[in-house]
């Protein structure tokens, strides 16, 4: 039975909309499986609103597809039910054997940006101490690493929004680069209303998305650059700001270093040259530069659209450079931020599940950081392994000599969400052991040797850190299903079986208390935060040192580099990035839909969401469709050297003529990531999801028929 009226937050995205779970709604449809009702709660981020995913989120709690008992793959190759002891004993003994044979680094851990802070923290500790492996990374490598790297480089710290979301309300101008928030975190767009009414919402996106349309009717401007040319666009804006002396010279002098080199790095990107690369008119660029510099409340925000590229770190850096030139970061009512995507995408990148990181956003290579964390963990610093491999490289090492032989997956459906998933599937198949913790039978769970059924959002306690760096309480509203276990318990049990002497608490609050100690003095310092404070509703933004206060606005006085100054880092365009698709190719852009969340493992199980977006469809421009002889709804094959996906075409002028858009929410042979490349950004190791090349043709027709393209259909 549900507890009466529990305040918690939505299970999905990083906006973490506040909601209250209560008695089941008597008026709900009889087919509803929701054991609780969902009511939106007034909170600064969502202000009493929820999107379709949030309203229907409780359906997943009662889904028939729920995993309720451990599964172990038998000799017949089928997954069969097992007891927890059997499953955990098996996992522990296999891990031990693999470790003995190949060494500790033969065991890998793959985490997720949806795990609570407590789980993310304990997972990092488990990998380093119980497994003794350096091979841990997580799916946030696919979304936040480039912006994080850029933020660290420029500001010395990475908190997605270094200001509360409500600061956006009073903006005159918001430059939103590569983010379709209207579909991915809809209630957020309420915070753009001020900029819209000031005619100053500027959306940069190759697609004419729902967000781009918020600029219609004089509410702003939509710039539609060719995919992959965002960096050039930004360099052009910087050029214009410099050329027209629109920079905040006083701010640059007081708060930054590196202006001279930056200025030189953009002198060759005048607006007309930018136009010839991006397809964005020079006049629009000039107007935008002036608008940004007009001195009102101005924000620059980036999303995955500009970050998920092989030059994503540089692109995010260029956005930061632009913001710094205009004097925005740290100026009251203005700023730069990146919109974190996953529910705990912020907290998930702070507590040690990144391969190069220890809790508190500490560097694993920093001796002082290692000493501090070793003290908290009660081990010698030497007991903590060094840096491991970032996600894509980690997955590429599966089954290889010197690579990972056993992989533990937590909170990630990586055979849907990873780039080049065909290769990832091969890698998983070559493992000696794949263990997946999940609460539904995701595509990745279906491949596992052992599946451990864990608990989900409304069944557990913990904390999440939202896109604005605010720590929030997730609360239990219903009793978890019989047979499921908390991931903290799973880690503790495995650690015990692996005879790890370190402590693995199973109580979230006690784990949080340990996390506080481990983070103390780090960049992401949680030491002053406790559950009681959060339960009182206090707004706790990190860094929040013990005995101190939180930090809603991070850069009011200084940046996090030792000298307090921000770095202007010149970046340049790599020529290969600018090559457009060949005449018979289209650029593949992947992304998300309103109704689904990430790999879709959860939202595809919610009937209302699935009914609205039941299947993969390839969005193409009618002109392109005409050229290729494709009718609306007709099956098409989208193909390149890596793979092929077959799905109906959706003709829409939302996409540019040289692009095709595929949402990545679908699995198996409908996974858009069959087509994406596993090339990564050299700084952040984040893959390229936005400019892969594909060919498109009507399905079930020989390729030769392409010659007849353009014929009436």
């Amino acid at each position: 039975m549900p507890r009466a009226s529990v305040d918690t937050h939505c299970p999905y995205c990083a906006l973490q909309c506040a909601m209250t779970l209560g008695e089941p709604d008597a008026s709900a449809s009889p087919s509803s499986t929701a054991p609780v009702s969902v009511t939106a709660r007034d909170f600064p981020t969502n202000r009493g609103g929820l999107c379709k995913k949030g309203w229907t989120s409780a359906e997943l709690l009662g889904t028939a597809s729920r995993l309720r008992v451990p599964l172990v793959r038998g000799a017949d190759g089928e997954l069969a039910e097992a007891s927890w002891d059997e499953a955990l004993d098996l996992v522990a003994s296999r891990l031990r054997g693999i470790r003995d044979e190949y060494g500790a680094d033969a065991v890998g851990v793959f985490g997720g940006g949806g795990l609570t802070n407590e789980k993310a923290y304990l997972l990092g500790k488990f990998a380093r101490l119980a497994l003794g492996t350096s091979r841990i990374d997580y799916n946030g490598r696919y979304c936040m690493s480039s912006a994080a790297a850029a933020g660290n480089r420029a500001f010395g710290v990475d908190r997605g929004l270094p200001f509360p979301v409500e600061d956006l309300d009073a903006a005159d101008t918001v430059l939103l680069l590569g983010s379709n928030v209207a579909a991915t975190m809809p209630p957020f767009i309420g915070h753009l209303a001020g900029a819209q009414s000031a005619g100053g919402l500027v959306v940069v996106d190759p697609r004419r998305t729902a967000t781009a349309r918020l600029t219609d009717d004089g509410q702003g401007l939509h710039l539609q650059p060719a995919p992959g040319t965002d960096l050039v666009l930004l360099l052009g804006l910087i050029h214009q700001v410099v050329a027209e002396r629109l920079v905040d010279a006083d701010y640059l002098e007081r708060r930054t270093i590196g202006y001279a080199a930056l200025r030189r790095s953009v002198s060759s990107w005048w607006p007309e040259r930018v136009q010839s690369v991006t397809g964005v008119p020079a006049t629009a660029l000039r107007r935008l530069a002036r608008r940004l510099a007009a001195g009102g409340n101005t924000f620059i925000l980036t999303g995955r659209g500009v970050e998920q590229h092989v030059d994503g770190t540089d692109t995010a850096t260029a956005a930061i450079n632009l913001a710094l030139l205009l004097g925005l970061p740290g100026r009251p009512g203005s700023g730069y931020g990146t919109l974190t995507g996953q529910g705990n995408g912020q907290g998930g990148r702070e507590h040690g599940q990144k391969c190069d990181q220890l809790p508190g956003y500490r560097k694993i290579t920093d001796p002082a950081a290692r000493a501090h964390v070793a003290r908290v963990w009660g081990v010698e610093p030497e007991a903590i392994p060094g840096p491991g491999l970032p996600a894509v490289e980690l997955l590429q090492s599966l089954g290889r000599d010197g690579g990972v032989r056993a992989l533990l997956v937590h909170g990630s459906n990586l055979v849907v969400s990873s780039p080049n998933v065909a290769a990832v599937r091969d890698g998983l198949a070559s493992l000696e052991l794949l263990v997946v913790c999940d609460f539904v039978r995701s595509e990745t769970a279906a491949l596992a040797d052992v599946v451990l059924p864990v608990r989900q959002w409304a069944e557990e306690e913990g904390t999440m850190t939202s896109l604005e760096g605010r720590v929030l309480r997730r609360r239990r509203a219903i009793e978890p299903p019989e047979g499921t276990r908390d991931e903290l318990w799973v880690l503790a049990e495995l650690a015990r079986r692996l005879e790890c002497p370190a402590t693995f608490d199973t109580d979230p609050e006690r784990v949080f208390e340990e996390l506080r100690l481990a983070s103390e003095g780090g960049l992401a310092d949680y030491s002053g935060i406790d559950y009681a404070m959060l339960d009182r509703g206090e707004a706790a933004y990190w860094p929040f040192p013990r005995g101190g206060t939180g930090t809603p606005r991070l850069f009011d006085e200084r940046f996090a580099h030792a000298d307090g100054l921000a770095r202007l880092v010149p970046v340049s365009v790599r020529p290969a990035v600018l090559e457009g698709p060949a005449p018979d190719e289209l650029t593949l852009v992947t992304g998300r839909l309103l109704e689904h969340y990430q790999s879709g493992a959860q939202t595809r199980l919610v009937p209302e969401l699935l009914a609205a977006e039941p299947e993969l469809r390839a969005s193409i421009h009618p002109a392109t469709a005409e050229r290729l002889g494709i009718a609306d709804g007709e099956l098409v094959e989208v193909e390149n050297a890596r793979g092929r996906v077959c799905c109906p075409a959706l003709l829409t002028t939302e996409v540019r003529v040289e692009t095709v858009f595929l949402p990545f929410h679908f699995g198996d042979d409908r996974a858009a990531n069959l087509l994406t490349s596993d090339l990564v950004d050299p700084v952040s190791a984040m893959p390229e999801f936005k400019t892969n090349r594909v060919r498109l043709r009507p399905a079930a027709r020989p390729a030769g028929r392409l010659a007849e393209a353009g014929a009436p259909i």
Binding site: W55, G190, H191, G199, E244, L594, R627, T653, G710
Partner: protein, 560 residues
């Protein structure tokens, strides 16, 4: 292998790029580099000189070179020093200071100077071999002195002269209606000067535009306040006596007898490569210093040329003895940068031992070029008028008309849109669906898309009119102007359409709150509640003829 000594003559944007690309090789000691530049300042982006000349930007923002970084890497920088002669036998360059710099490779990036047209009253120097040998000191590395009140627009000193005239709102006459002349004219007019453009063709930018585009451009120029005098060949200049006893420009006299008075005459009649050092040294020159596709001189494999002074021609049996050669330096920065990148990379690779030792210098003939393939041939450059209120982009031969047939080009098709009243014109010339030429005036989005399509050699949509609609009020066909179409989305947060709300209204949900309970519309960010109320009002009234909401507000619009 001994360390190769490279001498670069010329430190403009192309030279600076060459230096930048070579820095790693210089820093690690595998190459030596000496740079000689005539202007005593850091290299700057010449593309921006017109903007500088009207006060639109300042030198800081134009700098492309990094002298300090170059010197830190070990490059010898000799700026403000002119080279006077090349001794190819001794492999030395003589500077005006009397020094001699030895080289193993000499790279000429001497750029171009403004052409001075034949005008009564303006002295014009010849730079043929005889004159050069006779007057070397006055001609080599120096531009012609122009009378007071007359200037070209090429370097910072020229720009300062123009800037003074703009600041004091003087009357400026621009001679020539090429892209550079028009950019200056428009920028100066925008900055408040009185500007008159004089040219001898029937319409501006005759090399780039067809008649339709040219006439629309002319109308646009006039609308922005620039006087345009077409069909007029300039013949002479007249001077006036100033109060301080000096003489300065007073009027331009045309062949048909017009006397156009002004305070500053800006010559914008094209540029010519600075070839005099090469000519004196006996290197083959035509309209530029003649180099093969590997950028090495036809006459000397140890000498290279890049940028505005270089004329790339593949040497053949037939053309090696001809006086005139095809092509000319492009005069654009993009090709120059690509040449600088390629040549620097080629030198650096060789220094690392990646190419055979005899491949570039050291006596091998120009037919031997090591392992590296030549830089790709440059495609015809796109010309874009850099101006605030007039958008002109063109490339290729836009002469053909839609109904012209050309048996040599059976696949050629021409599509055209002309709307002179609203200053809009587009012509697209395709070959098998791929753009070979286009001209666009007054349609910035269309021009930007065509630019991209041309650069990428992509096929145009079969319906060419698609490309025109970007600049129209129905820019977004999906919006279709009707916010109340049944499938139009009202609530983005919950994906609720007009028809769902209408259905809810029909079944009794007549308030925004009721609709929210029924459909979740308005229960996200709440931004659509006003529109829900409108949908309900329309449903209640049964009206189908209510106008779409939301006319653009010009005062704050970014798009206006």
């Amino acid at each position: 292998m001994t360390v190769q000594r490279i001498v670069l003559l010329g430190y403009g944007p192309v030279g600076a790029r060459f230096v930048e690309e070579l820095l790693p090789a210089v820093a690690d000691g595998s190459l030596e580099l000496t740079v000689v530049g005539g202007e005593p300042v850091e290299a700057y982006n010449r593309v921006l000189v017109a903007e500088y000349a009207v006060g639109g930007t300042e030198l800081d923002a134009m700098l492309v070179g990094d002298r300090a970084a170059a010197e830190a890497a070990g490059v010898r920088m000799r700026l403000g020093v002119t080279a006077r002669a090349i001794d190819r036998d001794a492999r030395t360059v003589k500077l005006e200071t009397g020094e001699h710099l030895g080289y193993d490779r000499l790279v000429l990036a001497t750029g171009a100077r403004a052409n001075v047209p034949t005008l009564d009253g303006v002295e014009r120097r010849r730079r043929d071999l005889v004159s050069l040998e006779k007057y070397a000191d006055a001609l080599v590395g120096r531009d012609d002195e122009l009378p007071a009140g007359i200037t070209a627009l090429r370097d910072l000193a020229d720009a300062e002269r123009v800037l003074a005239a703009v600041r004091s709102r003087r009357r400026i006459i621009v001679l020539g209606a090429g892209v550079l002349g028009l950019e200056l004219a428009l920028a100066a007019a925008h900055a408040g000067a009185e500007v008159c453009v004089v040219h001898h063709g029937p319409h501006p930018m005759p090399r780039n535009l067809d008649r339709g585009a040219g006439l629309v451009l002319r109308a646009g120029l006039r609308r922005t306040g620039v006087t345009v005098v077409a069909n007029s060949r300039a013949e002479a200049v007249g001077f006036r006596d100033e109060a301080d006893g000096s003489r300065s420009f007073d009027q331009l006299v045309t062949a048909d007898g017009k006397q156009l008075r002004g305070d500053l005459l800006v010559l914008s009649c094209g540029v010519g490569a600075r070839t005099e050092l090469a000519t004196l040294a006996g290197l083959r020159t035509a309209s530029g210093i003649v180099v093969n596709p590997w950028l090495a001189s036809w006459s000397d494999p140890a000498v290279f040329a890049i940028g505005d002074c270089a004329q790339v021609v593949e040497r053949t049996e037939e053309n090696s003895l001809e006086r005139t050669l095809p092509g000319a330096p492009s005069g654009l920065i993009g090709p120059g940068w690509r040449q600088a990148d390629w040549l620097a990379a080629s030198f650096a690779a060789e220094a690392r031992g990646e190419a055979s030792a005899d491949s570039i210098a050291g006596g091998a003939g120009p037919s031997s070029h090591g392992e590296r393939t030549a830089p790709p041939a440059e495609r015809e450059p796109i010309v874009m008028l850099k101006a605030e209120h007039l958008d002109v982009v063109a490339v290729g031969d836009v002469g053909p008309e839609p109904w012209d047939e050309d048996p040599r080009n059976p696949q050629r098709r021409v599509a055209q849109w002309a709307d002179p009243e609203h200053h809009r014109y587009v012509k697209m010339v395709t070959e098998g669906g791929v753009l070979t030429a286009f001209a666009s005036v007054g349609m910035p989005r269309t021009a930007a898309e065509l630019t991209l399509l041309f650069e990428r050699r992509a096929e145009l949509p079969a319906d060419r009119s698609l490309l025109l609609r970007f600049d129209g009020p129905d820019d977004d066909p999906t919006a279709s102007g009707d916010a109340f179409a049944p499938t139009a989305t009202v609530c983005w947060c919950n994906g609720v359409t007009v028809e769902r709300i209408e259905a809810a209204a029909a079944s009794g949900s007549t308030t925004v709150e009721c609709v929210g309970r029924d459909t979740r519309a308005g229960t996200g960010c709440g931004g659509c509640k006003g529109r829900i109320a409108e949908v309900l009002a329309r449903a209640a009234a049964g009206a189908n003829d209510v106008a779409p909401i939301g006319e653009p507000d010009d005062a704050t619009s970014l798009t206006g």
